[in-house]
Amino acid sequence: MAKVTVDGIEVEVPNGVSVLQACEAAGKEIPRFCYHERLSVAGNCRMCLVEVEKAPKPIASCAYPVADGMKVFTDSEMVRRARRGVMEFLLINHPLDCPICDQGGECDLQDQAMAYGLDKSRYLEEKRAVKDKYMGPLVKTIMTRCIQCTRCVRFATEVAGVPELGATNRGENMEIGTYVEKALTTELSGNLIDICPVGALTSRPYAFVSRPWELRKTDSIDVLDATGTNIRIDTRAGEVLRILPRTNDDVNEEWMADRGRFSFDGLKRRRLDRPWIKVDGRLRPASWSEALGAVAARLKGLPGERIGAVAGGLADAEAIVALKDLMGALGSRNLECRSDGAAIDASRRDFYTFNTGIAGIEEADALLIIGANPRLEAPVMNARIRKRVVAGGFPVGFIGPRGLDLTYAQDWLGEGGRTLRILAEGGHRFNEVLRAAKRPMLILGRGALTRPDGAAILAAAWKIAAENNMLQADWHGFNLLHQFGGQVAALDLGFVPPADGAAVSPATEALWLLGAEVDPAAIPAGAFVIYQGHHGEAVAARADVILPGAAYTEKDATWVNTEGRVQHGRLAVYPPGEAREDWKIIRAASELLGKRLPYDSLDAVRARLAEANPVFAGRGFAAHGCTDMTGPTGDVGALTEAGFAPAATNYWQAEPISRASDTMAECARVYGAAQVQLAAE
């Protein structure tokens, strides 16, 4: 530890930290542009100058390590003059176009020019102009505004793992760009917009839409992948205008994936905003009482075993528990939440969660990826894996399609079943790597379990975990990577059929779909289908009654991410038209069915959730080990030799919301060719 005095305040900081961090520890604000906590130090903007006793010149505090007994001054005359000078230089070539700049109001340069700059410009010469660059359909560039802090270059290289941005040419002519015209091939490109301290990189869909002070900000959770990214939803007049990540070091740090960030325009399109009833084979608009009346009329008197219910990947815990209770009251146990066919064993929580935890990845020292493509299934978690790989001493074995670019080096072990069997038997060279590791982990992709031999794959993966030192009293290295934010909650609530049952069977006469995508061909011809959801897709056309539900931005809901972390999302805008929060729809239907559910407030539903599974009583994620080695049901011997198909074939359009989004359609068009190529390589 080093004792440092900052403006007379004495603080003790670890050796090796920068002067800037010491100043922050003392509660002093240091202006900066190029410095970013999660990126390497560049030290090129010179805004963070401070005075250090006995140093002849001001020093760049972000790049200067502390020394014991150092006396730092952050507000001396020398510092003020130095910062004013730096600011004047930065503004020499910066256009004064704040009134038409999308960064206006949340611009570091604007704010710091107010606080540390001169009140007028002395620069009368010509300013330089820089050609705008094309960086894909999400990031808009106005490169004349660039102050060359190189944050974007460092983000792309270090965090996203796509070294495609750079500073070309030099001096007056230096430009940030890709040099060759191309869209950045990363699923994290939206973060460039966040880290850019000026208006050089801004959001293309958000261009000229709003000013930050006009927005209402609601903290919520992203559910479009299973990471459980903490987000802030910015709305104005009942419309979502943008979504930004919130910092949560245990989950997403401060990053966010592009699909979650940019697909919200899908929330306005192709919405089910009023109930529909099928009359004479055609759907017609109806009122709530008509729709719920039709449901009650059909379900009343139907034996429970003829009724089924399926929950989709974006369903919230409140709706799931309400539907489960309603089905229970109707005498049905035919529940299903694995409409993708994944052979998940829901009998024990650690069989289906990401037990290591996202932050736990950084403590691991070996990784085996089985049939998952974390880059496309959970880009933010992939950035965390990459962070661990870059730190060194982290061998990554990969079973799946050959030649995938995961943004870090991986040891390709094989295509699929055959390699998995050898690993499970312990005879693979990678077994040695895993056994030598102290904290090995594996990631099993949910997509890999959708094959006919899914149960065998699950059992084999568990066997590998159990026999390769991954299951320890204080370490759980078995991880299942889900794809959407509602999948774990449904498993936690036991939304699965009994051993001898199935939600959709030839005997099904009535089927309740909670935002679930079920192949219409699998539904028996005469069955009565209730579709409750926010987007009408193929299966909605098959429905006899459509009950319009709320999307994740439109309800107070509980979500469980792939780790099993319980988080609460909040209502940012009201559902459109006559759509309602999902648990309330089910609660209203129960009344008409004569099976009134015993809760009519959010608190009461949440109390019921906690009763159904104690994990819902708390929030967050508790690190845990594994002492019970008994594996999930499944016969390793049934493993077939087939290779794993790429699970996420179209990252940009993986669920109903992004499929309704124009922004995502544009991304799919631009990046589609590249992704097909990735898959084929």
């Binding site: 495609e164 941005l165 040419n169 030099r170 001096g171 002519n173 040099y179």
Partner: protein, 210 residues
């Protein structure tokens, strides 16, 4: 002058592959760096590309595919090579003429008459100005920063050779010789011995023991 044209504004060859001579040179170069530090060889390898282009097309420049080939050989991201190649003006990122006339315009050369050399280049090589190539494709004229030959200023660098103590007349003669296909010996054009004073040594004339 620095050429800030970006890659896509120049007609690029469809492919680039190192030839046998380049490969031999690369092998020698890579041995100079410890294992795992091969990326340090990026500058020498870009020169290898530029020389190979000179051999193959008679124009010493580094095309995009050549940068990609360097990146692939050194295991670097292509953008890291683009950054280096565009930073140093010694690498031509667009095609140039057969002879690259590089006039030093830094203070000592300027004081000793580099403006005359520049005008001579313009007149004799029929080049419009800095950064331009003559219509016959023979000469490209560039202004460069200090070449480190100030004692024999002004300097005109032709490709890799220094021609020193230039003036208008001698520059014109040099360019005409180049045009005829001759290659005058590089060095001082007034018969100066290396960078000794004009007319011969002035000091240490008495050799002890003589």
């Amino acid at each position: 002058m620095v050429d800030i044209s970006t890659a896509h504004e120049v007609a690029q060859p469809a492919s680039f592959e190192f030839d046998a001579e380049s490969n031999a040179a690369i092998e020698t170069i890579l041995k100079r760096y410890p294992p795992g530090r091969q990326a340090s060889a990026v500058i020498p390898l870009l020169y290898v590309v530029q020389r190979q282009m000179k051999r193959q097309t008679d124009s010493a420049w580094v095309p995009l595919k050549g940068m990609d080939a360097v990146a692939a050989r050194l295991g670097m991201a292509p953008i890291r090579v683009y950054e280096v190649a565009s930073f140093y003006f010694m690498f031509n990122t667009k095609p140039i003429g057969r002879f690259h006339l590089q006039v030093c315009g830094t203070t000592p050369c300027w004081l000793r008459g580099s403006d005359e050399v520049f005008h001579a280049c313009k007149d004799a090589a029929h080049v419009a100005g800095y950064g331009q190539t003559s219509e016959d494709g023979m000469f490209t004229l560039s202004e460069v920063e200090c070449l480190g030959g100030c004692v024999n200023a002004p300097i005109l660098q032709v490709d890799d050779d220094y021609y020193e103590d230039m003036d208008y007349e001698r520059t014109v003669q040099l360019i005409e010789a180049l045009r005829r296909g001759e290659r005058p010996a590089p060095g001082s054009t007034i018969g100066r011995q290396t960078s000794a004073p004009e007319g011969g040594p002035q000091t240490l004339l008495d050799v002890p023991g003589e």
